[in-house]
């Protein structure tokens, strides 16, 4: 069989998540039919869905958080009631949750906290401790548990996938339609469910369907404040003397669809904000529906027609917004914006214009068929010929390392901590534009230094049991450069060899 190791690197690294170590033979398979290897995953749409035991739906999780918050509140009130009786009040039981409530805190503090929680063994069993004021380690709360379980399920899927192309698509779309888990307790508990429910089912489906699923998902409505937005002339707006919040409307047009400069005005933003008033989720009382589920609150919806991008949308409740989204999804600016971003992610920081044009045409012709767009990318020559110059993001780097080492994660802590250090905390970008997607962002001096530190840690921990040259075969075979091969061969220890291999250009670039 013809064997093209260079094309195998493109198949595995540009499109996928890197070769798996062990006996999987990914590189050999990819080398014999590179395009087929990548496209095989597109033929299994159900393989994109993620169902793991214990993962719950958004309403279930919402209810669990509401119940947890009630518990915390009751504990605090009980502590307050008991306090006057004691002169030396012990630290309140709910100290940790109370701190965590202040979620302008970034994910770093939280994940560090989780890691501390994860290994409490000796503290708890020592009969006496030198720090009597320190409260005993507490069991993980439902929010921490959920976040870790969701992270683990995603990491395991990414580690086990054959090529990983569809997982890369999931990450791409999840970042395009990002929320941030650092927004608050609901965002944190819903981050994984949001991706499973709003992104995965549509990654090989239609853009318009994904758009609707995303903008109606409680996690997005919470992240961009739409549950607080009230039509100024709606009944709720009049009663509560509150009004519009245009955050979600703006980001829908700027970041999710048309792109900045995509031909909309401030008036369009305000119009769309009015059109989607009432898009919210049911609260803990469940007056409008099961707590934590998407609902349309007609009481909060701005009455009347709205003009958006030159078209009038008649008052029709929820359907008014759905019609608007359907039109925005097929707007020419959307096709252009999506195609450009897609090619930038997979091919080059400066995306080849001819390829962008081709994918844009596919998007327009197929009414936003994302599988057709992904297929067109794999079928293009540009995607196979462009040099492998893109930096792997921290997530791609850590997952590729885990795959090469054939380590199926059982605990997400190391990954979460690593992502955090490298500036890509899981599901927690700094802004609604998601994590950056250029070399300038990920090949920065401090980032490289930290990657090396992490690679050295992995080397120290796992290096003694591996043959570095075997791993190099799995990772790149005869496509590895002479210099990389020599550097790995000449390392002074297996540990060092592994660190150097993980940091080699073959593992960093895609």
């Amino acid at each position: 069989m013809a064997r093209d190791s260079q094309a195998a690197l493109v198949a595995l690294n540009r499109f996928g998540l890197g070769a798996r170590g062990g006996a999987s033979g990914d590189l050999i398979n990819a080398a014999s039919d590179p395009r087929g290897f990548v496209k095989a995953e597109l033929a299994r749409p159900s393989g994109v869905l993620l169902e793991a035991p214990g993962l719950q739906s958004t309403p279930q999780l919402g209810q669990a958080v509401f119940a947890y918050q009630d518990q915390v509140r009751q504990a605090r009130e009980a502590a307050k009631a008991a306090a006057p009786a004691e002169t030396q009040a012990p630290p309140p039981v709910d100290q940790k949750p109370a701190l965590r409530r202040n979620l302008s805190l970034n994910a770093a503090a939280e994940i560090t906290g989780q890691m501390a929680d994860a290994k409490p063994a000796d503290m708890a069993t020592k009969p006496e401790t030198m720090q009597p004021a320190r409260p005993a380690p507490q069991p993980l709360n439902v929010i921490q548990k959920t976040f870790r379980a969701e992270a683990l399920a995603r990491l395991q899927r990414a580690t086990l996938a054959e090529c990983g192309f569809t997982e890369r698509l999931v990450v791409f779309w999840s970042n395009h339609f990002c929320i941030s888990a650092s927004k608050g307790e609901l965002a944190r508990v819903w981050a994984g469910a949001f991706e499973r429910e709003a992104i995965r089912p549509h990654v090989l489906g239609r853009f318009a369907d994904m758009l609707k699923a995303v903008e109606q998902h409680p996690a997005m409505l919470f992240f961009l404040d739409n549950q607080q937005s009230l039509g100024p002339d709606s009944r709720a707006g009049q009663n509560r003397k509150r009004g519009l919040n245009e955050n979600l409307a703006r980001e829908i047009m700027e970041l999710h669809t048309l792109g900045v400069g995509g031909g909309y005005t401030q008036d369009d933003v305000t119009s769309l904000a009015r059109i989607i008033t009432g898009w919210t989720f049911a609260g803990r009382q469940g007056q409008l529906g099961p707590p934590g589920s998407f609902v349309f609150n007609a009481n909060a919806h701005q009455p009347g027609s709205q003009i958006l991008l030159g078209k009038t949308y008649d008052p029709a409740g929820l359907a008014q917004g759905e019609a608007a989204l359907a039109d925005i999804a097929r707007h020419p600016s959307t096709a252009n914006f999506i195609a450009t971003k897609f090619v930038r992610h997979f091919v080059a920081d400066d995306p080849p214009p001819s390829l962008v044009a081709r994918l844009r045409d596919v998007f327009v012709r197929t009414d936003g068929d994302l599988k057709a767009m992904a297929t067109a990318l794999v079928d293009s020559d540009e995607a196979w010929k462009a040099p492998l110059t893109k930096m792997r993001s921290p997530y791609e780097f850590l997952v590729a390392s885990g795959r090469l080492l054939a380590r199926v994660p059982e605990d997400p802590s190391r990954y979460l901590n690593g992502l955090n250090l490298l500036g890509q905390p899981l599901w927690s970008p700094a802004g609604p534009n998601g994590f950056p997607d250029t070399n300038a962002a990920w090949a920065a001096p401090e980032g490289m230094k930290l990657r090396l530190d992490i690679a050295a840690q992995i080397g120290a921990r796992l290096g003694s049991n591996i043959d570095p040259l075997d791993l190099l075969e799995f990772a790149a075979a005869d496509a590895a450069s002479i210099e990389t091969r020599r550097t790995v061969e000449r390392a002074e220890s297996r540990q060092q060899a592994l660190a150097l291999l993980l940091m080699s250009p073959e593992m960093q670039r895609r």
């Binding site: 919040n245 490298l422 962002a441 401090e446 490289m448 690679a455």
Partner: protein, 407 residues
Amino acid sequence: MTMIDCVENRLLTSRRGLLLGGASFAAWAYLPKFARAADGRDPRLVVVILRGALDGLATVAPLGDPDYAGLHGSIALTADGAHPAIMLDSFFALHPAMPEFARMYRDKHAAVIHAAATPYRDRSHFDGQDVLESGYAGPGRVQSGWLNRALETLPRGERVSSGLAVGPTTPLVPRGNAPTVGWAPVALPQADEDTAMRLVELYRHRDPALAMALSQGLRLDKAAGGDDMKPRGGNQAAQMRQVARGAAKLMAADDGPRIAALAFDGWDTHANEGGPVGRLAFLLGGLDGALAEFENGLGARWRDSVVVVVTEFGRTARINGTDGTDHGTGTIALLAGGAVKGGRIIADWPGLKLANLHEGRDLKPTTDLRSVVKGVLQDQFGLSDRVLAETVFPDSAAARPMKGLVA
């Protein structure tokens, strides 16, 4: 920095230039000191970007404007009550979360520029940040920032210096042809030096861009190290202070960078912004602490230092339906430092009457933020009008450098 480093860098330069299609490192050594050699000063400049668009009207509130309280509603600051704003003059008051800045202001080492904005008039954060950091009049695809281009025009000299980019990713403002180095606090055991050197060697042959990035990362990390730099977890405000402490330590060194840029996130306060206490107050407290860290950490250098705090645009003058503010235009810039001619609020106040608001929504910008930055660059480093108008902020001749910001 040794001779070998310089040679090595020049070597890498040409190869990286090839790789990136024209991006070349013009030179390594810059000597900002030249400009002020006459008066023996050794000026330093820190640029702090507040990402997310700071509510300038909530930070330095025009309490004397009859329309302010009504527009800012439930989150408006007041001169009395449990958390009174700090009166800066008879008209403007500072947010109570910023006592350190207030002290600097009283000591005439801090100033406020109000109703300022870049030339950008739309409402996208990312384009707004692009204009703010690139220094171009509109958003584009420029891969360099004004701070880097300013650095590039400084005279070269025997003392090695370069721009410092703080944080795990490099903001646009210090990016470009002039060399920058990056640093962020770490919490990991470090890779040993031998491994690092082998990797640099591999990159040098296979991937010059990575070689450059990694060697700079290694160098900087060493310089900023020390036990007090271990992160203690902590919250966002604590992290701002910690980042400032580390950057100040690097900049205080004799051969340390003279110019630094850092970014703080989280200023996009669409909902529940809070008034004298709350979310914005918490962040402003962190910023205030960071300014104090710069003052402490720079020690004797503080005398010649200027910290410029800027943001991509402001927020609406009227609060929105959810006790927050949406994307607006006019906002503030803050200056702090021993070299600042402070104790002043510089504003051509447009007023908050509906007719005076930009698009009926925002504080109208009356000062071009580029004028402020150009003024500081000119006073600190002696950049000429022409260089500022053509190279640093292209096509900005109309925005003349503001005079006398630096003592």
